[in-house]
Symmetry: C2
Subunit: 330 residues, 2 copies
DNA sequence: TTGTAAGCGTTATCAC
DNA sequence: GTGATAACGCTTACAA
């Protein structure tokens, strides 16, 4: 690799002049800058970010830690985030925790060692709290995405309690009474969507309990869903993630059920495919979510640079109902 | 950030001993290593990769440059790649070129400056050949993914000519004669899929020309597709990417066409949604593709470390037809 | 405006 | 087995 020293030699200037030619402020004669850059170009010189990072204590790296890559919802966020981050002159280091605390730990270690200035994370559980504290102590800004695992961390979430409520209420209004809602149960707590479901059910004087279907993370979801629908005699189902929506549709296919005549389906999280399939969904203002995530992060990075202390932000984005034609009025 | 110096002080050893405690070979008393690591843990020490990279001339970074993030086909590859790369103890720097040569250039500059040891790239066009040459000169290993833009670069592609041929031949066998194939035309050349389409048509003595539908990259694809179907009186269509498949299905919806009665659709690139929708597709052995990409890359990185010279590998993975029920026998 | 030199946190070489 | 020290490529006082 050609270094600034090589360029300096070739351009007959000092190494620091080369450095100056590559920085905004660098007090340097425009002519010199021009000349140095030209020589550098010919030599194939590119500044070494590792060295810069070491010297400046600024890596210009943002760590992105996602959980489940099968969820198209996240894929679409990834692009938005990358775009923003790049525009700010930062780079994205991509990691997946696979909903696994041990892997999450490895990701975090790697990101810390990479001197990431900020991280956008979907925490798996409370298990790695010490890591997040270490990061905090080291001034690494963190924003948790779509999940509120740590109360004192910056947060950008969708108001899933509201989403669950809206979804359930709509189905109730359409006359459904035996409604299934699916969930993954990570902690002991009920997911927010389920909480909203409960609230709506209780408003209608319905026992929410039998409709709550806890699913395993990776195996035979459609079989379980099919069984639950038959078992409860459900007339409607709220599928709580994109992968679960897929499983639900497969269950319908295998049982030969037609939408919305035999079963009403309301998907949580939207996808272009759902539009094609005519399936109503709880959807989210993706642009707003993506923008917020990155904005909060860089606000914090900025503040830190000025040695200001910011209190944790807590942004909750409102989901809304997108009607198509997968829900039948009873 | 706490550095090895801090740990050294706290553990009453020299800084180089701390360093040794964190390397495989490091000739160090196991007891000392244990003790040092414990002190480090308490202090919240993590090795600084920038410094390591600077000193070792090994960043342990792999650059991943994708084109279109809307294509779920790539999203699924991304995860596979990340998994592999992480397992090799490397990190993934994610960039998107948006099918735009200027952006591609920025991505490459960033990756070079990041000292990436290897990059997995989907080149946009020949425009940035100088960049790729610079990388080559600097010993940065590159593998082009799914496209063969540079003849002398390592390549992992799907044999799209074969895929186009298989798809077309199947439709012809089913009695279709007016078949549309869609494409994006980046260079002057016909895409490989279209070449396969041509070959099959010619075997059947059919003029391929009228069926070739060139689409713009981002706007109103479904309108154009609908127009083309009507215009040609097509009985079948091969949609050449996942986003185009979506557009095709939208076109069908808006024209009120039912599959496969009113139109036969054969998708190029598979998706779980297509399974749900019962749409036949040309699919790819994703695992094989992902594995190959990373294997080729690390084979090259390994060779470079040993100062060996490897000639460019050229891997072509065979696609195959997955029959569902979106094609009608005429 | 430019050059000199110190230092960022590592690893590797060389003594001991 | 351990410690001192130079060097990696860069930025930034400070000096000229």
């Amino acid at each position: 690799m050609v270094s600034s020293k090589d360029v300096a030699r070739a351009a007959n200037v000092s190494q620091s002049t080369v450095s100056r030619a590559y920085r905004e402020d660098g007090n340097i004669d425009p002519i010199t800058r021009q000349r140095v850059r030209e020589v550098a170009r010919q030599l194939g010189y590119f500044p070494n970010f590792s060295a810069r990072s070491l010297r400046n204590n600024q890596s210009h790296i943002i760590g992105l830690m996602l959980s489940d890559p099968n969820n198209a919802f996240f894929a679409s966020l990834t692009k938005r985030i990358e775009e923003h981050v790049t525009q700010m002159g930062y780079r994205v280091l991509l990691t997946y925790n696979d909903e696994n605390a041990k892997k999450e730990r490895n990701c975090l270690e790697s990101l810390i060692s990479s001197q990431a200035e900020g991280i956008l994370t979907m925490p798996v559980s409370k298990e790695n709290e010490d890591m997040y504290r270490t990061m905090h102590n080291n001034g690494i800004c963190a924003v948790q995405l779509l999940r509120r695992v740590y109360p004192n961390m910056n947060t950008v979430v969708v108001d899933d309690e509201l989403g669950g409520y809206i979804a359930t209420k709509y189905l109730l209004e359409q006359g459904h009474r035996r409604i299934i809602i699916t969930e993954y149960k990570f902690n002991q707590l009920l997911p927010a969507k389920t909480l909203g479901y409960q609230r709506a059910c209780e408003e209608y004087g319905i026992d929410p309990e039998p409709g709550i279907l806890n699913l395993p993370f990776d195996t035979n979801q459609d079989g379980i869903i099919a069984g639950a629908i038959a078992g409860l005699g459900a007339t409607a189902i709220i599928s709580s993630t994109i992968p679960i929506t897929m499983a639900t549709l497969k269950a319908c296919n295998s049982m030969g059920m037609k939408l919305p005549d035999d079963l009403s389906v309301l998907a949580y999280d939207d996808s272009e495919w759902l539009d094609i399939l005519g399936i109503s969904a709880i959807t989210h203002p993706m642009k707003e979510i993506g923008d917020n995530m990155v904005d909060v992060l860089f606000r914090n990075i900025e503040a830190r640079r000025k040695r200001e202390q910011l209190s944790a932000e807590n942004i909750s984005v409102k989901p809304y109902l997108l009607l198509r034609k997968s829900v039948r009025r009873l």
